[in-house]
C-alpha cells in the first residue's frame, strides 16, 4: 500500500529533476532502439518506481509501483480489485462469514502450484497473511482488522479468518497485496517460489527484470510469452522510452507530453480517472481549524476549476471534498461545492477572524504540481483574509517531518479505497490520523455499517459516513487527477482501474 500513500524517494528525485528537462518529444526514431518485436512476444513496461529501491519481499514496504507489478506477476493474491471497485476472486474463490461476521471461511483454488512444484495450500495463504501482520509497521497495518493468532487452517483449501470486530468487507481487505508465498519462506534475498502468471528469469538485473509466462498457471493463459518490467523514476524518461519505441507501455507520464500526443496514431493514451489527489489537510485540534466554520470557509474559498486547470492541466475532475470519490460506496448525489467568497468571509467573521489570520501552508515537490497547487491555494485563500505563507519542504523528509505533524499542508492519496483511508488516517489513536479526526458517533456508526451484512444497505451507510466527513472533517479535496499512461498503438489488455488494479498486467498483448 505504501506506494499509494506516499511517494518513494525515487519518485521525489524524479520530480525534482523534471524541472530541468522538458525537451520536445521525437516520435519513434528509426534507430535500432525502436525495433519492437511482436514476434518475440515480449511486452516491455516502464513502470514508476526506482531500480535502487527494488524490493524482493512482497509483504513489507512496496516503495514503487514497479515493485507491485513484479510481485503481481510472480505471486497470486487472494482477491483482486475490479475496475468498478468491486472485489473479484483470484486465488481465493469464496469468502463466507458466519452469522456474527467475525469468522470467515476462505476457500482457495485447488489447482494452483508453486514454481517448485508444490501445490498451493490454505496453510501457505494463512502463513502469508500472518507474515503481513508481523510486518504491520511497514505495510500500514493492512491486516489490522484480523486476529491472525485465532485464525486457523481448516484443510488444504480452506482456512478460517477471524476478525477483531464484525467486518463485512473481508473480500476487500484481501485485495491486491495479499501475495501468497510458500509456508516458512522468510528469506527473500534469494528467489522464492511463486504461483503467479509469470516467473522471473535470471536474465536482467538492475536495469530490468524479464518474466516468462508460467504455462502451468491456473488462470486464463497470458497472451504475452514474456514481460520485461523496468523501474524508471523519471516520468519524462518513461514517456520518452515509449515515444522512441524502447518500451511498449509507460506508466504515469506527464500531462504536458500527453497533450502533445493526443493525435499521434502511433500511441494510445490510457486515462485512469480519479487516480490521485492532493488533499488540503487541516488539523482539527489546532487553531484556527478547531473551528468548523474556518474549515468550511477554506473549502468555500477554493476555486476548484482554476486548480484543476493549472495543476493537472485539466486532466482530471473537480473535487467535492470527498476523500475517496472513486470508492463504490462514495455518495454520488451530493451537489458540487463551488466557490462562495461572500459566504466564506461571513464564516470567517463569525469565527472571530474578520481581520484575517497568518498561517503557514506546507507543501513539497514530491509529486508534479504540488508546489503550484500550494501557491494557487494561498492566493485563493487571501480573498477571505487567510494569509497563508507557502513553505516548500524537501521531498525526502516531507512525509516524516510534515505528514501527520503539521496543522496545514498538502497531502497525497493515490487510488485508495475508503476503508483503507479509514484505517490509516481516520482512526482515533492512529499516528497517521492527520486531521485529528475523533468523532465517536462517526466511528460507532462505522462499526455498525461494517456489521451490516446487506451490501446495498452497507454501501449506503458507508456513503453517508463519507458525506459527514466531507462537511465536518479536516480535508478539502479540490480536484482529482487522472493517471496517464502511454501505450503503443498495438497494445491491448491493459488493466483498467486505479491503485492495485492497475498493477496486474498479466493479460497485456502486443498485436501486429
Amino acid at each position: 500500500m505504501h506506494f499509494l500513500f506516499r511517494p518513494s524517494a525515487a519518485v521525489t528525485l524524479a520530480v525534482t529533476l523534471l524541472a530541468g528537462c522538458s525537451g520536445t518529444a521525437p516520435v519513434t526514431t528509426g534507430s535500432r532502439a525502436s525495433g519492437a518485436d511482436p514476434a518475440s512476444g515480449t511486452v516491455r513496461y516502464a513502470a514508476p518506481g526506482s531500480p535502487s529501491n527494488a524490493v524482493t519481499d512482497p509483504h513489507g514496504m512496496l516503495p514503487g509501483e514497479s515493485d507491485v507489478v513484479r510481485m503481481a506477476l510472480t505471486y497470486d493474491v487472494l482477491t483482486l480489485p475490479g475496475a468498478d471497485g468491486s472485489t473479484r476472486p483470484r486465488l481465493a474463490t469464496a469468502w463466507q462469514p458466519d452469522a456474527s461476521l467475525t469468522r470467515w471461511r476462505i476457500t482457495i483454488r485447488d489447482d494452483a502450484t508453486f514454481s517448485d512444484g508444490r501445490p498451493v495450500k490454505a496453510a501457505d495463504a494463512l502463513f502469508s497473511l500472518r507474515r503481513m501482520g508481523r510486518k504491520a509497521a511497514e505495510n500500514f497495518g493492512r491486516m489490522a482488522m484480523f486476529d491472525l493468532d485465532r485464525s486457523k487452517v481448516i484443510d488444504d483449501t480452506g482456512f478460517e479468518l477471524v476478525t477483531r470486530k464484525p467486518y463485512a468487507e473481508v473480500g476487500k481487505a484481501l485485495e491486491g497485496a495479499t501475495f501468497v508465498v510458500p509456508e516458512g519462506s522468510d528469506d527473500f534475498g534469494k528467489p522464492v517460489a511463486g504461483s503467479g502468471p509469470f516467473r522471473p528469469t535470471g536474465k536482467g538485473g538492475a536495469q530490468a527484470v524479464l518474466f516468462e509466462r508460467n504455462d502451468d498457471w491456473w488462470g486464463p493463459k497470458p497472451p504475452a510469452k514474456a514481460i520485461e518490467v523496468r523501474a524508471v523514476p523519471d516520468p519524462q524518461a518513461r514517456a520518452q522510452a515509449l515515444l522512441s519505441g524502447q518500451v511498449d507501455l509507460a506508466g504515469g507520464v506527464p500531462a504536458t507530453l500527453v497533450r502533445q500526443h493526443e493525435d499521434n496514431s502511433a500511441v494510445r493514451v490510457v486515462r485512469r480517472p480519479g487516480a490521485t489527489l492532493y488533499p488540503l489537510v487541516m488539523r482539527m485540534d489546532a487553531e484556527p481549524f478547531d473551528d468548523r466554520r474556518v474549515r468550511e470557509a477554506v473549502r468555500l474559498a477554493l476555486d476548484r476549476k482554476q486548480l484543476l486547470d493549472t495543476v493537472f492541466l485539466g486532466y482530471g475532475e473537480l473535487g467535492n471534498d470527498l476523500i475517496t470519490p472513486k470508492d463504490p460506496s462514495s455518495p454520488a448525489d451530493l451537489p458540487q461545492r463551488v466557490r462562495d467568497v461572500t459566504r466564506a468571509k461571513a464564516l470567517m467573521a463569525e469565527a472571530g477572524l474578520a481581520g484575517g489570520i497568518d498561517l503557514t501552508l506546507h507543501s513539497t515537490t514530491a509529486y508534479p504540481g504540488m508546489d503550484t497547487a500550494a501557491t494557487l491555494i494561498s492566493q485563493q485563500l487571501a480573498d477571505i483574509g487567510i494569509r497563508a505563507e507557502v513553505r516548500l519542504e524537501p521531498p525526502d523528509t516531507y512525509f516524516s517531518a510534515v505528514y501527520a505533524r503539521k496543522p496545514f499542508y498538502l497531502g497525497y492519496l493515490g487510488g485508495i479505497p475508503f476503508l483503507d483511508v479509514v484505517r490509516v488516517t481516520l482512526t482515533a489513536g492512529s499516528p497517521t490520523n492527520e486531521t485529528a479526526w475523533r468523532d465517536r458517533a462517526w466511528s460507532a456508526d462505522l462499526d455498525r455499517a461494517l456489521a451490516e451484512p446487506d451490501e446495498a444497505e452497507r454501501r449506503s451507510r458507508l456513503g453517508e459516513l463519507q458525506a459527514r466527513l466531507r462537511d465536518h472533517g479536516g480535508y478539502a479535496v479540490w480536484a482529482l487527477s487522472d493517471r496517464l499512461d502511454l501505450a503503443r498503438a498495438g497494445l491491448s489488455g491493459i488493466p483498467e482501474g486505479i491503485g492495485f488494479a492497475a498493477a496486474f498486467i498479466d493479460q497485456v498483448r502486443l498485436d501486429g
Binding site: 529533476l17 530541468g20 528537462c21 532502439a33 534475498g189 515515444l243
Partner: protein
C-alpha cells in the same frame, strides 16, 4: 598532494610512502563519509515505518542496529568493509555488494567512455586556451568556464533537444534491455556518455590550463621555441612530461567524480547505475548503501592519485636526469 622533500626518500622507499599515504587518505575518507551519513536528518526507520506508531519505529531502529552509538556503528561498518562484507540495504534487505555489482558495469562503462571522450577534448581545449590563435583564446576560455558551470540537467536537456529531437541521431533515453551488457548497445548510451563527457572536459580544462600556462612560460620552453623547434616537438618533449603528473591526478579526481556523479544523467536517461543508487540511498537514508558507494568513489580517486604518484618520477624529465646523474 605535494611530495615530501626529496632528502628523506632514502629512509623509506617512495612507493611504500605513497601506499601508506593512500591508506591514510582512504581511512580519513571513510570517517568523513560516516560522519556525513550520521549527520543526515532522520534515518531509515523513519522511511520504512513512515509515521507508524513510535514503538514500531523504535523496533525497526533496533532491528537494524540504528540505536547503537555512532562510534560502535562506525567500527562495525569499517570491519565489514575490510572483510568484504558491506552489509545489506536497510530499505530493500538486499546485499549491498550485489546492488553495487549489478550497477558497476554500466556506470564504469559510462565513466570510461566519458573519460575517453573528455581526455583528448580536455587536452585540445587546454592547449587552445593557452597557445591557440590569440583571438580564439578568450572564446575557448569563456566556453569552458560556462561549460563547467552549467548544471548537468541543462546539458542533458540541450543534448536531447539537439542530437535526439532535432537531428534524430540518438534515442532520447537509454533503456538497456534485460541482461544485455552496456558495451553491446553503445547507440543507447551515446547521449549519457556525451552529457558526462562535455562538462567533465570543460571542468578539466579549467584546472589544466593553469598548469599548461605555467609550463609554457618556463625558460627552457621559451628557449626551445626560440631555437625554432616545431610546436609539436616542444609540446611532446618539453611540456607534456611536466604536465603529466598534475594531469594524472586531475584524471583521478575526474574519474572519481564520474563514478559517483552520474546520478543526474542516469536518472534522466533511465539508466540504473551507481549514481542513481547513491542519490536514492541518500534520500531513503539507506546508510550502508550510501557509505559503500561513496567509499568506492573515494577509493577510485585515491587509487588514481596513487597511480599518479607512482608514474610521476618517470614522467618528469628532470627527475629522470637527476636519477641518471646520481
Amino acid at each position: 598532494m605535494r611530495r615530501l622533500p626529496r632528502g628523506r626518500a632514502t629512509a623509506v622507499p617512495r612507493p611504500a610512502r605513497a601506499l601508506v599515504r593512500s591508506g591514510l587518505l582512504l581511512a580519513a575518507a571513510s570517517a568523513v563519509i560516516f560522519l556525513c551519513t550520521a549527520a543526515l536528518p532522520g534515518d531509515a526507520a523513519d522511511v520504512l515505518g513512515g509515521r507508524a506508531a513510535p514503538e514500531d519505529v523504535a523496533r525497526l531502529r533496533a532491528e537494524h542496529g540504528l540505536d547503537r552509538a555512532p562510534h560502535v556503528r562506525y567500527l562495525d561498518w569499517l570491519s565489514g568493509m575490510l572483510t568484504g562484507e558491506p552489509g545489506v540495504s536497510l530499505i530493500t534487505g538486499r546485499p549491498v555488494a550485489e546492488l553495487i555489482a549489478q550497477r558497476a558495469p554500466v556506470t564504469l562503462f559510462l565513466a570510461m567512455a566519458a573519460l575517453a571522450v573528455s581526455v583528448p577534448l580536455m587536452a585540445a581545449l587546454a592547449w587552445a586556451a593557452v597557445r591557440g590563435p590569440r583571438r580564439l583564446r578568450p572564446v575557448v576560455n569563456a566556453v569552458v568556464v560556462a561549460g563547467a558551470a552549467l548544471p548537468q540537467a541543462v546539458v542533458v536537456a540541450a543534448l536531447v533537444a539537439s542530437l535526439s529531437a532535432a537531428w534524430r541521431l540518438f534515442p532520447p533515453v537509454s533503456m538497456l534491455p534485460a541482461g544485455v551488457p552496456p558495451w553491446q548497445r553503445p547507440d543507447l548510451l551515446a547521449l549519457p556518455v556525451l552529457s558526462l563527457a562535455l562538462p567533465t572536459a570543460a571542468y578539466g580544462t579549467v584546472l589544466l590550463r593553469g598548469a599548461v600556462a605555467d609550463v609554457v612560460a618556463r625558460p627552457y620552453v621559451r628557449d626551445a621555441e626560440l631555437r625554432g623547434l616545431r610546436p609539436v616537438t616542444v609540446l611532446l618533449r618539453y611540456v607534456l612530461p611536466v604536465v603529466a603528473a598534475p594531469a594524472t591526478r586531475l584524471l583521478a579526481v575526474v574519474l572519481g567524480g564520474l563514478v559517483a556523479g552520474t546520478a543526474v544523467a542516469e536518472t534522466m536517461f533511465g539508466v540504473a547505475g551507481l549514481g542513481e543508487l547513491l542519490v536514492t540511498a541518500v534520500a531513503t537514508r539507506d546508510v550502508p548503501v550510501v557509505q559503500a558507494v561513496a567509499l568506492l568513489a573515494a577509493a577510485v580517486v585515491v587509487a588514481g592519485m596513487l597511480a599518479a604518484d607512482l608514474v610521476a618520477p618517470s614522467a618528469d624529465p628532470r627527475t629522470g636526469l637527476k636519477a641518471a646523474g646520481s
